[in-house]
Symmetry: C2
Subunit: 175 residues, 2 copies
């Protein structure tokens, strides 16, 4: 068994996941980032790409896990830690459970869709063949701030677009 992570390590790896989330924001995707770690080393990193890929599975943690499968040549990922800026959804919690990840560290909670603490506690279900250690709220404020900032900008853009359309219609009417 590998040594438990120190608080510094936990904060450092979540910092890398937050950096991934920022990349998603830059290209207009909901800012969520994820990292898989084994033996204190980053195995894979990813950010949300659902809109660009038009693929329902392209959540950040989902991609990071599949990339870790590739890197480690196995669908089983024992002795690994997943860092993700938002609480995983039901689908991702299912994949985490199936791939036997040891620990999940997440940032902000997701009250509407979270499958780990908020809506379901899928990773702690002792009826399933594997349970995962859950560490909630790691650098949660930063993860939340990124999401809020992103959705605020989306609303602002939509409002501006609506105004532009309105003005265009008025101008057309005057002609």
């Amino acid at each position: 068994m590998s040594a438990p992570l120190t608080t510094d390590q936990v904060n450092y790896f979540m910092g890398l996941a937050l950096a991934e989330a920022r990349k998603a924001a830059v290209i207009g995707e909901v800012p969520i980032g994820a990292i898989v770690v084994q033996d204190g080393q980053v195995v894979s990193h990813a950010f949300n790409l659902r809109e660009h890929m038009q693929d329902g599975s392209q959540h950040a943690e989902y991609q990071a896990i599949i990339e870790a499968n590739r890197q480690l040549h196995s669908w089983r990922l024992p002795e690994t830690q997943l860092f993700v800026t938002l609480e995983p959804c039901i689908m991702c919690a299912g994949l985490i459970q199936q791939t036997r990840i040891t620990d999940v560290y997440y940032g902000a909670a997701d009250p509407k869709a979270g499958g780990v603490t908020s809506m379901y506690e899928l990773l702690s279900d002792t009826r399933l063949n594997h349970q995962v250690n859950v560490h909630a709220g790691v650098r949660a404020d930063e993860a939340s701030a990124l999401l809020k900032q992103f959705f605020k900008a989306v609303r602002k853009r939509k409002k501006a677009e609506k105004r532009a359309r309105h003005l265009a219609a008025e101008n057309t009417g005057q002609k």
Copy 2:
């Protein structure tokens, strides 16, 4: 909205999913198959490939959904039906819910890992933003028989391998 499927259509499409499951068995994978249908036409088909791909997400229905995302150029799959020979797990139920599939028809129940009826009822949760119509037990006997036959053959092969190892050890001892 598209017309509801007839019983003949339902049996026909599940027959295609069962044919997919048989392909998995041929290459030594647990026999599970899936089909996505839209407007009475097959959009995608797939069988379980988890061992060959060493990728935790390669369940039959999972692959069929992702392929449907590709075929229909969208991560949303409204007005589609998924046919799968075994009750979907938590991960796949999460993906089904997220991709807004309209109906799920499944064959055998999965008491140990099923996320639709057996362990959880994830597709009927009204707290989530989409619910799916579930049709359980379609050609369930055939799906079950395939699985039983597969695991029986696996046990037989393991027993034969054990016997061969034992004989080899005895022969080595005699020399």
